[in-house]
Symmetry: C2
Subunit: 409 residues, 2 copies
Amino acid sequence: MALIVQKYGGTSVRDIDRIRNVALRIAKTRDRGDDVVVVLSAMSGVTDRLLQTAGEITDRPEKRELDVLLATGEQTTVALMAITLSSMGYKARSLLGYQAEILTDGMSTKARIRDIGSGRIRSLLDEGHIVVVAGFQGADSEGNITTLGRGGSDTSAVAIAAAVKADECEIYTDVDGIYTADPNICSKAKKLDRISYDEMLEMASLGAKVLQIRSVEFARKYNVVIHVRSSFNDEKGTIVVHEDSNMEKMIVSGVTHSKDVARITLLKVPDQPGIATGILSPIADAGIQVDIIIQNTRAGNMTDFTFTVPRTDYAAAMEIENKVAKEIGASEVRGDDMVAKISVVGVGMRSHSGVAAKMFAALATENINIRMISTSEIRISCVIEEKYTELAVRTLHTAFGLDDENKTV
Amino acid sequence: MALIVQKYGGTSVRDIDRIRNVALRIAKTRDRGDDVVVVLSAMSGVTDRLLQTAGEITDRPEKRELDVLLATGEQTTVALMAITLSSMGYKARSLLGYQAEILTDGMSTKARIRDIGSGRIRSLLDEGHIVVVAGFQGADSEGNITTLGRGGSDTSAVAIAAAVKADECEIYTDVDGIYTADPNICSKAKKLDRISYDEMLEMASLGAKVLQIRSVEFARKYNVVIHVRSSFNDEKGTIVVHEDSNMEKMIVSGVTHSKDVARITLLKVPDQPGIATGILSPIADAGIQVDIIIQNTRAGNMTDFTFTVPRTDYAAAMEIENKVAKEIGASEVRGDDMVAKISVVGVGMRSHSGVAAKMFAALATENINIRMISTSEIRISCVIEEKYTELAVRTLHTAFGLDDENKTV
């Protein structure tokens, strides 16, 4: 008998029919003899609708109260699920965030989980209940309702799995698992059976939007085995675990891409201490996240400084840097929002040299010009012209031997 | 500086515009220097919609979970109200039932309030907040969400007013106050300035649906001054308090009527001990509420037994009594669901004789036949043919000197 945490996202519970389907899946797990804790998101569209209603009142709704409002979304789904399971003859009990003892800090709308008490869930399981927990929400030490930010239900599920020491945390979604590349672009993409937390983190932050990054960090920290799988079929999905010997056979696990990128370069910046801070602090102050940063030395005590921001923040960032350039005496600001970022990710890179060279060579074969390069221990990213995105993904997928030979193009 | 509890019903908060109007009214009270605790219902229609959704899953939704679902209704309104008040520059804080320390018994969907802690509300008031409490909901001693049954927000408001020792509990509704009769029937009906708890209880149970009966019982027990008034204007409404000397000038305070009545008579019942139980127990077992009960002695150790039930339960009750009649040897069961109940209510009756005689005489003048009579200390009720309802109300209203002489018919 195992203890399984199952998390279902908004599309899996978007109406009564879908809720019934999910209930059948939960029941099947229960019938197998396993203990089940279910974590649910709000029905798809509900959170957006609530935000819109609050937005009709004011542009800046009070965050504490916004959380009270948003928390009704998950409250509705857990009640409906518990009603459904009960009507099927199962003992089921819903728990809201505070009832499940999910303690967070007090940062409304983007709270972080500090602790989870497992007592209440444990005793309900011992009584034979299926426990249905509202994802995305918790309570701070003063009992105020808090929410965990977009995608927070993944983190709820993993954190609960850690607290109750679950054998597995199944994350049900609308895809079959984690792929070696986006199947919409690369028809030969394969589903991965296993992937390491580190790789998943690099993949998630690079645009594979299956799992919230924080949930993977949590899982890595507390050794929670995540199983990403589809709520529409019974296929095994992808297991996310600590790196193991099986994985090392592959140098590269996947190719990811993101078009949510824009590049900004300040030319001929006087090269003196503190110049990077002078350029990037105003960007941070505006709440804009910087991704890749590159600084090249030029002749004559001058430097060129380049960084990337999300494309939606491009205009604001350009405006800021045009001011900064005058202040610090840079000669010119250049920007480009028609770029994309392509990355290869794999723990195998640690022990294999030549991955970068192979990547650059493959792109060169297709005449794809590399505009920026950035690397981590298990990732190499290149910024290229946006129009080459799909070609680059397919080229690298083939070059690193990831193609599923059973699939035809 | 006073401490005021204000309760607004579903129609007063049914959309963003109405919520804004209510917020302005709350703000006006706050600007006057008063401390304000606001109690809100769900937006009108929301509770019915949630019940309908649960009904799509099963005919008998698990009650604990139904309460979790229903509680989202009030949670939504308090969040939106706190957001609105905050956006207007006021310090406002929403509290859900459990956060407001509303402790109930464990009877899901019809819980009773056991205790209210005033600590949290008090300290928020001391910090200068307008406190916005979700009506209709509380939590049992195990932390499960409970709801108080239809109209429960009135009870929430009165109970909170008792706990925080408020100077007044204002119940905002869509009528101007309590009238001497239904103004839709009796154009000369007057708004009462004051009414006693006892009278209000008789009126409420007789069909004046302004206040939930339980809230009036609560107010009487804890000396909470209720002020029933309209949320659409600034007129004073009706104050509900303990009986005082002012009231005794009037013998009758109001005339009420109810068409939700049906009459059932068992003829020639063998008159022996336990016969009333034999007749009424099966009715109680079927969850049907009996109102008036009359037993007349006949010659020959026989009795006729008559009682009334809500009209919606008439068919079920007749079916039951047809069986009962055979078992106990009654000769016949007669029923009539085309009847109505007319009552005059007033604490002045206690000290004035002749009220009944005057009532019967007034009805006789209009040739209205009385089918049943029932009295309490401060009420006389007659069951009459339904078609005479409106005529009877107007006739009694005039006979007891309640007509507003400033109004023309």
